[in-house]
Symmetry: D2
Subunit: 354 residues, 4 copies
């Protein structure tokens, strides 16, 4: 229970269901005196929302954030920042067909097993709409760290992937296309593929790569709260995520030590960076990069066999306005969670100052 | 700071450096009345310790655990369980050559940057010797859940991997060989390869797969403390881990929804299990399985260029009795961390009982 | 930082300033399936609000609570319960006279020292209006424990006090008078005294006694999270509280062991109850009772010498609609905090069930 | 469960029973680079131990602390500090007479009710011997704050009390007498009274006053983790404590606002200090002072009627070497807990630094 708070010192507590009155949260521990750029918060929310392009869900949601406390005359005061985003597009009737049905690879069955009760409207608490609160929290966290650069992008969709190192990419192109892939030739292929998948009534998975730059050395708290362990938890807590790797990741498991070790330059930087900017769970000042795997969206527009709450076999088919591929809209969510982790560790690290 | 506690209700707090007086910890929140099988705890410690076979570190460490509290007349009392494992094999002189040197891809540099001071003897707190406390905590956690089966095994070393699904393996063979690979033909190849690597003075990475069976449905606390998010954090907190995936993992990111969805049987089980036993962050009663990537050990017996604390370039070479491949000894650590996560969620889940 | 969450398993996180858009909070960890009595929540809020009688603040505040999540078809779902109470009576202009002034014995000075910025409107976050969220959280907590009886009442105002043991009182009379004192003769004296004090433009302190009945044995988590330690923290966190004692309290410090020990009856109850229902930090099934001291309200309608933010001496006088005595309105707040503590420990105690 | 950790950033986790192998703990979050004065730690332990004078328990306990980790070459490293104090004076046979008996006003009954099992030797975990770990933790915390002065002293025993404000006392006299009362005339009376009580085979309660000086303004985290709320919890968590008040305390509840308000001087100090150095839960730079009530020790050397675990009435009498009055030995414990609270808030407050 009580799993709806993230962070130790910069803490985000969230609430809200897909079709309840509102999604919202409380940011506790934000240092005072921060001038809040409201537009920047809203921009991140707009990047997350459906209906932005032809390849994502066509639902229309305004998702305007309203801050209720903790900000006075444009600045944070040190008091908790409460916020809400009203759910203006609720159509409960859309979901009557799933009221008693367990959708395959959704959380319907497990929520029923755990809680004995389920808000079946649009996934309820298990809906990705919950991530709105994460994006708001992350947007504030980013503003605390103006020097840190956080750039996530879609690095693969299905079997299509960017076959360049991130250093060869121009992150300013990420937002230039509907897929959020900064390699434009690959973006085009991904977009075409997603359209094709959608026509089939199917969905497809993908990966997001995220690069954190200008992160100071020293962040992370061994032995359990290592920087990459918290980043991993943060990413794995996002809906549909199946894997996380950083630095050399799973490839590193195939390598030899003589190939994998990052040799130091006299200034403390390293010649290579297979460590991914983290050694012993603590940032070393080099770029941090990691990759997150998302499964295909479970709601497909094809007939599927399933069961209802009474164990009866039924046939169902997705309705409505779902994403054929989740990764384009998940890019700002990955960035937000990374920002929450970094902001928390930056505050924790202040303890080491004289 | 204060990153040395793991868990919410079943909490393990650890301490100890490689060459300090002792490694130890406190288990707080263990329910009372548990009859503790001390031999089982020691068996897990023995599986972790060096010197067990020709392919691991040849250091001799007794690693006998001593419980100091919380157990009375053989049973837990509900009071915190303090324990220590004395460091009987301390040879500080072995480490004088690294006192001022930053070993490549070790935590020397980052500990210095973070703390401004470093116990340089054998890695200090960043040494894998710290995992002794995890193994003790995990061994108690396992005893709380006699029905749950936790089986980890080495699934790859370098490019050599088991090319069978875990269902085709006999876990009782895992402990029959030095590599801890239950597929004996593959185990032989791995062992030969590790010996060869060691002759080269080199090291190699690998992966461990872990299967959790008989886990009841309902474990996990959305939206942040999802079961797989905590498993991921637990695994990523182990030294040398670079990646974590569960269920379909990174492969799932290449699949279509129509391929990936697990269809329900009338009894609530699923026909396939690409979900990896977890939906929406909550266990569904099916097998949970995940894979953990370990980088090659950073200490190699070859000359490497590096720097010292003053930024001067120096040449160094590993000395002593290091593992050419960490995964065989990491198997009980992966199991221990999985046990800690499950025990904690089992206790959290009691809240849902009437 | 991040001091706005109370509880471990039943967790209340609050936000909101006196003159911001809203007061609100999130209850995380409320078990699913609870039928929420909305009217009961509102009743407790109404007991807290100003303008109820001639002896409290004459401000008019509606304080209608709106639940935003976590409740579906009248029942809790296990998801976090977000709620807001809009601030409908905001008059920022009322407070311009204190913008730069440090009111004596208020939190103006310390908030400025700590945060470097202050929402000066009506005390901002330090306003007692913050307790609205506590009352909402406590009202839900009470509903989780229908068998537990929580009765707080005003036991003294200034030098006037009830000179009877609580067992001689009829708690059903507490709400029958404006002071919330169940001893009607004493209530009358208190009321007269408060009116007199108000005429003087002055304020007065008082104490609240709280009795918890039908609390099961076993609640409390030694050695730090003892039941009375958490009750004490909960009470001391309420604005204006200066002291807490339970059972024999400060009087017990004057007694001998032979007088103070509670002898057992054969059924495990005790003959006397100077322990106050708690031994070793754990409830024993007897009545729990404690007393909370409130200082006089700092805002008085008399001229006071003070300083402004620049250290300049200024003279000020309270304006507006303040309470001459805080204890009558603090009764539901004391009850709410007690309920939060008990609900949390009841959930924690589920771990001890088979 | 898991109630054996105190603090957020400077965290003390303790373990150990009266007659187990050892008492110990882990301090996690102590900043690196602190030169540890081991003698100062031992001095505080020696002040706590029995057998120091004619008026306390005559048990002989060495209580030598051994640090196991986190300190290297005399300095803290930022790693967790594990420590143990071996129990060298264990005589389990002394306690056979209470194995099945519930001693009045002890924790025997409640531990049995809660845990279903009890380490009956000398109180087990509920023994005051547990406070050894607190004293060690507090001694390290004090060294982190060399400028802060923490002075506790016995302010009353039974009906005998110091009738002077603390400002009139010379704290350097506290350790000059067996009672730890800095007012020597009163100390003499207390000592005589305790001796008399002991002759009667009885015990007596008392109070400790504690004064914290040179505490910087800004400590405390509203709205729940107010400085005095955490101090109160810390004190109430000590065995035998029945009450806590700070500043004007319960007397303040009798006062008028016009008497109670502390008027500001131009430099931000206050003319009076009924606030007790804390306003709105945050320190204001003035002296912090509070008072803690201890009940009489429950073990008396007189015949008492009680019951055993089967509900049978039995007669018992205390044996062995118990304190007739707990407050002299509790003085260093009060100081230690105050130090733990302040150190934690000092670290938390670093977040507000630029």
């Amino acid at each position: 229970m009580a799993g709806n708070t993230f962070g130790k010192l910069f803490r985000l507590t969230t609430f809200g269901e897909s079709h309840g009155a509102a999604i919202g949260g409380v940011i506790d521990g934000c240092p005072p005196g921060l001038i809040v750029d409201m537009d920047a918060v809203q921009r991140d929310l707009d990047r997350r929302k459906p209906g932005q392009s032809a390849i994502v869900s066509q639902r229309k949601e305004n998702d305007g954030v309203q801050f209720l406390s903790g900000i006075f005359e444009g600045k944070t005061t040190g008091a908790p920042i409460g916020f809400v985003v009203n759910n203006t597009n609720q159509k409960p009737e859309d979901y009557s067909h799933i009221k008693d049905v367990y959708r395959p690879s959704h959380a319907d069955y497990t929520y029923d097993k755990k809680y004995g009760i389920r808000d079946y409207r649009g996934g309820g608490r298990s809906s990705a709409r919950e991530t709105i609160s994460r994006v708001v929290g992350g947007a504030i966290a980013k503003q605390l760290m103006p020097d840190v650069k956080i750039n996530a992008f879609v690095s693969s969709v299905g079997e299509i992937f960017i076959d360049k190192p991130y250093q060869a990419l121009d992150f300013s192109l990420t937002e230039s296309n509907a897929v959020r892939c900064p390699d434009l030739a690959t973006a085009k292929k991904m977009e075409d593929y997603i359209k094709e998948i959608r026509k089939e009534g199917d969905t497809v998975g993908g990966t997001i790569t995220c690069v954190l730059q200008n992160v100071p050395a020293g962040l992370g708290e061994p032995v359990f709260d290592k920087l990459h362990a918290e980043l991993g938890k943060a990413m794995l807590s996002i809906n549909a995520v199946k894997g996380f790797e950083y630095g050399s990741g799973f490839c590193g498991a195939k390598m030899k030590g003589s190939e994998h070790n990052d040799l130091f330059n006299p200034d403390g930087t390293t010649n290579s960076n297979l460590s991914g900017g983290i050694q012993g769970g603590i940032s070393n000042g080099m770029d941090i990069y990691f990759r997150v795997a998302f499964k295909p969206v479970a709601t497909i527009m094809q007939q599927q066999q399933t069961i209802d709450a009474h164990g009866k076999e039924v046939t169902m088919q997705g309705k409505g306005r779902h994403d054929p591929c989740v990764v384009p809209r998940a890019v700002p969510i990955v960035e937000a969670m990374a920002a929450l982790v970094l902001a928390d560790f930056l505050l924790q690290n202040k303890i080491y100052q004289d």
